[in-house]
């Protein structure tokens, strides 16, 4: 088994420290929102989780393109890892959004364009994992996975811009406060700093988890090869 790289250990430590600092910034540095109260604090990590979800799907699409060009197995592992992490954080984003919506919109769920496109995006990537699980040949699985990750990426900009393109009650965080939005608020400088720091921190969380998941993927590849060898 390959030893853990020193740089990864450093990244682990930095990520944990950043996550602690971001949590402290959200709870102790950012002020309480005047209308929504404490639940508004969910917003910082809710958006950051959404950012990691979309980043994961972007990395998967890029890894898919590179895999199709080079045929190197490593890029398939990167793509799968990025999708898995993206799905975990997109799930966090959807569930925390629902929790925030309950006191603000007076409902756990509504088929608003942003919520609907985010759910479709999550389901598209769930289908990616199901597709892969149904193909035994590793090369075919990687090729199909790469194409699917590239095509599936269409759902990401659609989700991101849905709150800007369609009539929606979901607030647009950066940009204009549209009149139809329920629960939008003007960020004070401290709120903006806590928000930006959360985005920065979650980018580190993504990089750290991706590295760990790619190492796991390589290990899984090794097991698959050993199995084929012993069975031959």
């Amino acid at each position: 088994m390959e030893p853990k790289p020193r740089l990864l250990s450093i990244l682990d430590s930095v990520t944990v420290l950043l996550l602690l600092a971001a949590t402290a910034a959200v709870f102790f540095y950012a002020p309480t929102e005047a209308v929504m109260g404490q639940v508004q604090r969910v917003f910082y990590f809710h958006v950051a989780a959404g950012w990691v979800g979309m980043l994961g799907f972007l990395v998967a699409a890029i890894a898919g393109i590179v895999y199709l060009r080079t045929g190197r197995r490593n890029w398939d592992i990167v793509g799968l890892s990025a999708v898995e992490i993206g799905m975990v954080f997109a799930f966090i984003n959807i569930v925390t959004g629902s929790i925030w919506a309950r006191p603000i919109w007076n409902t756990w769920w509504t088929w608003d364009p942003r919520l609907t496109t985010a759910t479709i995006m999550e389901l598209i990537y769930a289908a990616y994992l199901m597709l892969r699980a149904g193909i035994e040949d590793p090369n075919r699985r990687a090729r199909f996975g790469a194409v699917y990750a590239i095509v599936g990426f269409i759902s990401v900009p659609l989700t991101f811009f849905s709150a800007r393109l369609f009539r929606t009650i979901h607030p647009v965080v950066i940009g204009s406060n549209q009149p139809g939005a329920e629960g939008s608020f003007d960020m004070s400088p401290r709120m903006l700093q806590a928000f930006m720091f959360s985005l920065f921190t979650f980018s580190f969380v993504f990089a750290d988890l991706l590295w760990h998941r790619v190492r796991l993927g390589r290990l899984s590849d090794k097991v698959e090869q050993l199995k084929l060898k012993t069975m031959a």
Partner: protein, 54 residues
């Protein structure tokens, strides 16, 4: 709904639920990575032993 309220809405419970989900799901994912790694390491040990016997 909020026009007549005196101060911020009482939404502490929802905030706690939100952060429980955030840290809970992240923790479950980390544990799943750890368990999968442990299982794969055991598989490699067994398979390498089998290979040596062959």
């Amino acid at each position: 709904m909020y026009f007549l309220q005196q101060g911020p809405a009482q939404t502490l419970d929802y905030m706690i639920a939100g952060y429980a989900v955030i840290f809970g799901v992240m923790l479950i994912y980390l544990i799943s990575l750890y368990i999968r790694r442990k299982n794969l390491s055991q598989d490699i040990e067994v398979l390498e032993e089998l290979e040596q016997h062959q």
